[in-house]
Amino acid sequence: MKYRSLASLAAVFLFTCSVQSFAGTASGKKVYQSECGACHVPYPAVFLSTASWNAILDHLDKHFGDNAELAPGDLASIKTFLQSNSYDNSNIKKRYGNRFDTPGTPLRVSETRFFKAVHGEVPERLVTGNPKVKSFARCGACHSGAQQGFYDEEGVRIPR
């Protein structure tokens, strides 16, 4: 069945992400988590392509309707961290080629091919129609380990 195969792919994907070491950007990771994670879940770098991260970082003064400008030094280290750990540079990309490539340059994780594949079964009423969740952008509302970067299925609790 389609969803089962996607689910197992998802498991492989997330496992690959978790074992992947963050190449030489330890301080960039820290700055990313503290600066970006101050307002929202620090979305794992692997969830978006380098082009998407660049598009986001180049317009932080207009960041989904808010101003999220960073000090130049912080911006530079966050950029390096996100680029070197993006989907393009991930093990999943190396292993599966273009299997999970998303056309264009989406600015939202929820618009990526992989996200749609693994959330296809989740009815809207449980998310956008659920006052305790509200939006697919709020990963932590259902994924209990989101703040720490864990998105495995066992950690999912959809609030009712």
Binding site: D61, D66, A68, L70
Partner: protein, 144 residues
Amino acid sequence: MTKNKLSAIARATLLAAAFMSTLAVVPAARASNLDDLLQLYQQSAGRPFSAENGKAFWTTKHTPVAGEPSRSCADCHSANLDNTGKHIRTGKPIKPMAPAVNPERLTDTRKMEKWLLRNCKWVLGRECTAQEKGDVLTFIKNFK
């Protein structure tokens, strides 16, 4: 040593000194705590800072984007700084601003400068003046 050699050394020394002095000037004055920051702002502000004016500024509505609802600091942070605020757009809870309730506030000048930049641009559509920033910080600092 010849006279020429000596003047060459002198020139090199002067050049080096000039170079070092440019390096020394580069890092702008940085404030390490709230009082330093207020002093820094005061240098470019016309009047002494006033908690009264800061309070008025806090609730003043601005319309940075034509056609969108107006915004004020208090819209997200609440007019009563003891209260937890709520971002009018994202719904994100914002911890109280009053240092008496939330001791973390006004302890990190980097954070203060960062958020003053972001939030002034978002609420007013421009950076705040040193006077405005000083007034607001004074208002928050003395909030009871």
